[in-house]
Amino acid sequence: MRLAEAWRVALGALRANRLRSGLTMLGVVIGVAAVVVLVAIGTGAKQTVEQQVEGLGSNLLIVVPGQVSFGSAPTLSPLSLSDVEAVTRVVGDRSRVAVTVTSGERVQAGTAAKFTSVLGVLETTPQVFIRTVARGSYLTRSDVDTARRVAVLGSAVASSLFRDRDPVGQQVTIAGVRFRVIGVFAQLGQSLGIDRDDEVHIPVTTAHRLFGTGRVDGIAIKAPDRERIDELGNRVVAELARRHPDTEFSAVTQEQILGVLGDILGVLTGVLAAIAGISLLVGGVGVSNIMLVSVRERTSEIGLRKAVGARPRDIGVQFLLEAVLLTTLGGGTGMALGVAAASLVSALSPVPAAITWWALALAFGVSAAVGIIFGVVPAQRAGRLDPVVALRAE
């Protein structure tokens, strides 16, 4: 029997039982749609996180006291500006080293006030991290050296304190001390759950006076290239360990952060897909069940086809195609439904959803495979029917 003929027969059989075929397909439709949507959401989340981490800047090495791992308590930093100078000597280029000391403070301009993160930083920050100043200018080395009371506002801080007015040249009060606004950052958006537009940069020296501390929370280094990043990290950590024998230091790269986050999101996506896969499996069992019913119902037809010359294989292929047609039609519908649902989720909620061709190909392949796997037993049963017994059935 020609394959085209077999497809025609299979389609005819599905049409003959429209409602039953539709309901059987529904199981596969829901399963495939669920896989497509959940994988899209997982992939979207992963892509967003990757973009955000990469948005921090490239070849970045972040040195912090303590161990970087999930579940470990943050360590109080023993670092000071003299450590930063030592690190700068190791790196050999001041413009590649950035520091932060952070404190939550009340920032006020006239009657408007906002509680925000105030970061004491070096003038090197825009070269190390990706940060662009939209208006005015950034801190200079002399601002840092002379501990001037100047501030660069994040776009969210600027708009909530000054609304439509230009903040550059205006006065703000941070923790009761007056600062002059010299610049406003361009809007950046969120990164890893932190609103990076909701912060104020002041010189680290000024911050030490303001906060009454000499501590530095962390040091970030922009490595000259990707190859030497680990080696540089080791040298910096060794230098800091020599200066502070009681404290552990760790250096993490973006790749490590991406790796950890990617692993977590990958597992999450896998778990979601597996849950959706279970519903696809249930759909497959439904297909198997209906195919067995179909074989039983059409026993006399099978007998007749055999009498006029159908080989066991012809009959088996016919029923297998019927099952595959059921699941691939269901799979195609489920894909369309999944893509529609994913775009809806993307458009109406902050959850990003990314449809990838491989997820669609996988969903379609899996639905075809479900048809084959769950169609094989009924098809074999049909193919092996004894024609004499089959003809007697009515």
Binding site: M1, R2, E5, G12, A16, S300, E301, G303, L304, R305, K306, A307, V308, G309, A310, R311, P312, R313, D314, D386, P387, V388, L391, E394
Partner: protein
């Protein structure tokens, strides 16, 4: 598969037996039947139900294989054939007509007739041409597009006869072909079968319990308890008295 047409028998059964297993008990259905269906033959197999005539028909049609004995259909010994080879042999050599018609529902008369050609791998156009010609020959040229449910019983059996003959088989096996039809329609169907036998040279094997139908055949084979009752002349009147 009728290479030796004209001389070699279409079907030859020598001391054929068939035993079924029923709930662990072996039940003999045929206990040694020897029978030859010649090219263009016309014979009737008669006997009460349970006599083994259906089992014999299944064997002659290649739907089943004997437990022992030699069975040659269209020059091929069925003993060594796989189910697939047996299917091909049926397709090429045998045409079946059943009591219950066995037409595919939701399928036109034309496609029902063309069905055996599907399993020959014949293309759609050639298949339909051949099927249409066959429907014309059984007098249903005007019913080509009709579905079985739209046809009378007599018409349905004519479609089934067209389907049995469309492949140009050597033997037409008809199992109670008039069993589901009224007397007049049954007679017309029988006449059609006989004319096909006379015109195209296809051997006609009728399985029936109707003596009147059987007596129209050139020869009769009477089955009882899984064996052929010898056609001894004095026994015929006695058999006639039986119900």
């Amino acid at each position: 598969m009728t290479a030796a047409a004209g001389t070699a028998p279409a079907i030859e059964a020598v001391d054929v037996t068939r035993t079924y297993e029923l709930d662990g008990v072996w039940v003999p259905a045929l206990r040694g039947v020897t029978l030859t269906v010649a090219q263009g033959d016309h014979l009737a197999i008669i006997g009460p139900s349970g006599s083994g005539k259906s089992t014999l028909m299944h064997l002659l049609g290649g739907l089943d294989r004997p437990t022992s004995g030699r069975l040659v259909i269209g020059g091929r010994d069925v003993a060594g054939l796989s189910p697939a080879e047996l299917a091909r042999l049926r397709n090429e050599t045998i045409g079946f007509v059943f009591q219950a018609f066995h037409l595919l529902p939701r399928t036109s008369a034309l496609d029902n007739v063309a069905l055996p050609l599907v399993y020959r791998g014949m293309g759609g156009a050639a298949r339909r041409r051949q099927a249409a010609a066959m429907l014309e020959r059984v007098g249903l040229g005007h019913r080509v597009r009709h579905r079985p449910s739209q046809l009378s019983g007599g018409e349905q059996q004519r479609v089934a006869i067209a389907r049995a003959l469309v492949t140009g088989p050597a033997v037409l096996l008809a199992d109670e072909p008039t069993g589901n039809l009224d007397t007049a329609t049954g007679a017309a169907v029988l006449a059609l079968l006989e004319s096909m036998n006379a015109d195209s040279g296809v051997a006609l094997v009728l399985v029936t319990h109707d003596r009147e139908v059987a007596l129209r055949a050139r020869r009769q084979i009477t089955m009882r308890d899984g064996v052929v009752v010898p056609p001894a002349a004095p026994r015929i009147p006695r058999q006639r008295e039986e119900p």
